[in-house]
Amino acid sequence: MRVVRVLFALGMWSALCACAPIEPWVKPYEREHLADPIMSFNRDPISSVYLEHVFGTREGAHGATGAAGGGCGCN
């Protein structure tokens, strides 16, 4: 009986682990490759800001085009 309980607790634990609050999957200190300028869609930061604004207002699209501040998760 005790074994069943322990197994149940372990099962619950592994199942509930997935319910942890969603965090950025890549930690700020692991963004070496993401922060590389080659990872940006557009080489011109001013142009990409305008494009993002256009996408935001027209399509309700937001984010996922890289990170502000050099992609280091500082803002």
């Binding site: 309980r5 942890a20 200190y29 963004r31 501040g69 050099g70």
Partner: protein
């Protein structure tokens, strides 16, 4: 028994959350190897005001604040203050190349397996933690914008007077 299992399960779920540090709690100790290859422990700086700075050579704001941090270190090092630069890169080669161009006088430690970054729950780059003479975390600062060094300085000055 039921309560014990429930408690254990709750603890296991909460564990990842407990990893980060909070102000006014003891700063977790760590040992990392320095540029010279010698291991450096946080406890050996007990009695001094310590500023931990988590940085990487790929992080623009980190590169921007390094010379400013160096000037803070040079100014207050003789009066019971120390700065520790924790480099978070898995391969410190890029950091070393960058340091050759922009040398700093404070010790740089290499956290190649991100153990200390995880321990301190680094939530932004750069991250700065200021620790008082008793070894307690007093200030956590995320990111860097020009002008933030004034915040570091006022915190350091008030902790030095304690």
């Amino acid at each position: 028994m039921k309560h014990r299992i429930a408690g254990l399960a709750a603890l296991l779920i909460a564990l990842p959350v407990l990893a980060a540090i909070a102000p006014n709690t003891a700063a977790p100790d760590f040992t990392l190897s320095a540029q010279s290859g010698k291991p450096v422990a946080l406890t050996q700086y007990k009695g001094q005001v310590v500023m931990l700075n988590f940085w990487a050579s790929w992080c623009g704001p980190c590169r921007q604040e390094m010379p400013l941090l160096d000037s803070i270190y040079k100014k207050y090092n003789k009066v019971g203050f120390t700065m520790i630069g924790v480099n978070v890169e898995p391969d410190p080669k890029a950091a070393n190349d960058w340091l050759k161009q922009t040398p700093v006088s404070f010790p740089i430690l290499y956290d190649t397996d991100s153990k200390v970054s995880t321990l301190y729950g680094v939530a932004g780059m750069p991250s700065t933690v200021i620790i008082d003479r008793k070894g307690n975390v007093r200030m956590i600062h995320r990111g860097y914008k020009p002008g933030d060094e004034e915040e570091y300085l006022s915190s350091i000055r008030s902790l030095m007077r304690e």
